[in-house]
């Protein structure tokens, strides 16, 4: 049990930041991201013995996190992050800076993407290798490159649209 504890701690420490960022990209707020992070790592904890080393452990955790985020959005029928990102913008009025506003706009733009596109772009932004993204999202590497190109264009377009408003 102690060995499992140590291994889990190690896995948590080396992956939690990236997973939190991914969840943040999905939900747009720290509290929900924190809940999703906890759910993801609970699954990791419970199923650590079943991990077969067929892929990198980080890939395995990403897959769990992605499913957790998707189920969260679907089951809770959350309206993307409109309200949440609005609250980020409102909150940032207090500590207003151009940077804060731009970050809030970025999350708002991500929220306008399709669920799967949102997942792919957050992994791209987190600079995951393409082969890993392909494995996590279940898309062939060739198709993925085209898809990523389109998502990047779409996101840039959305960001510029919001920035103009």
């Amino acid at each position: 049990m102690e060995k499992k504890d140590q291994l889990f701690k190690q896995i948590f420490d080396s992956n939690s930041k990236k997973i939190f960022h991914l969840c943040y990209g999905y939900t747009g707020d720290a509290d929900s991201a924190n809940d999703l992070l906890q759910e993801t790592f609970l699954k990791v904890w419970q199923n650590l013995d079943k991990f077969r080393n067929k892929s990198l452990i980080s890939t395995w955790i990403y897959r769990i996190a992605v499913n957790t985020c998707l189920t969260y959005l679907r089951s809770e029928k959350r309206q993307a992050k409109d309200e949440l990102t609005d609250s980020i913008i409102e909150n940032s009025v207090e500590e207003f800076s151009e940077k804060n506003e731009q970050v809030a706009l970025l999350y708002k733009s991500i929220s306008k993407l399709e669920e799967n596109d949102r997942l792919i772009i957050t992994m791209v932004l987190d600079e995951l290798p393409y082969n890993e993204i392909a494995e996590i999202s279940g898309i062939s590497e060739g198709n993925l490159r085209v898809k990523i190109h389109r998502i990047k264009q779409k996101l840039t377009e959305l960001y510029n649209q919001h920035a103009r408003i």
Binding site: L37, Q38, Q46, T71, D126, Q153, L155
Partner: protein, 199 residues
């Protein structure tokens, strides 16, 4: 007009802080379950205290009438039986740890929810009726020491309290507990189910 590089740099500069450690995370789950366990223990402790109080009353006072003894017997038996039922329910959630045995714990939690539902419905009415009957018998001797108005006041307050507990308190407690357990079951089911999909 911004390019994707600008978006990438924004993402990179937005530093996120993970405010929880691995230990805190696991203990948080235990805490969620712990609050239900604590309530269950408090319920049992309350019943044991009532049992002791009535047993003390019986031991230290010299009651003359058989009705008083019959009333106290019924009351104390009902309390003992219900304490045992509560203890049996408590055992369901006390045996397993969700972080160590998720499947077993989830199944126990569902049984516990069912157990509590029965306790707050049919079993509660049996409890209330038996308790009222015990109190009525107990009052035969006890109330004879008081004036008529005091008798009315004691009877009114006692049965008013039983009625209040059986209606408002029971419904509110049942609703709250059902919501609390359902939320935990939902969360734990989501965790188990999602893994089956991803694994």
């Amino acid at each position: 007009m911004q390019e994707f590089d600008h978006i990438q740099s924004l993402w990179d500069t937005h530093k996120v802080e993970v405010k929880i450690s691995s230990d805190e995370m696991l203990s948080q789950v235990k805490k969620d379950v712990g609050s239900i366990r604590t309530r269950s223990v408090l319920n049992i402790a309350g019943m044991i205290l009532s049992f002791i109080a009535i047993a003390a009353l019986w031991l230290f006072f010299d009651f003359k009438s058989w009705t008083t003894h019959a009333g106290l017997t019924i009351t104390i038996t009902v309390i003992a039986v219900y304490t045992f039922i509560l203890y049996r329910g408590h055992k369901l959630i006390a045996q397993n740890d969700f972080t160590a045995h998720p499947k077993e714990f989830l199944s126990s939690l569902k049984n516990y929810q069912l157990d509590r539902f029965k306790l707050y419905n049919r079993l509660y009415w049996i409890y209330a009726v038996a308790l009222s009957f015990g109190i009525v018998l107990f009052f035969f001797e006890m109330l004879s020491y008081y004036s008529f108005w005091k008798q009315c006041l004691i009877v009114g307050l006692t049965f008013g309290w039983i009625f209040f507990c059986s209606t408002l308190v029971r419904k509110t407690a049942l609703k709250r507990e059902r919501e609390r357990i359902s939320l935990l079951i939902e969360k734990f089911e989501r965790i188990s189910k999602q893994f089956k999909e991803t694994a």
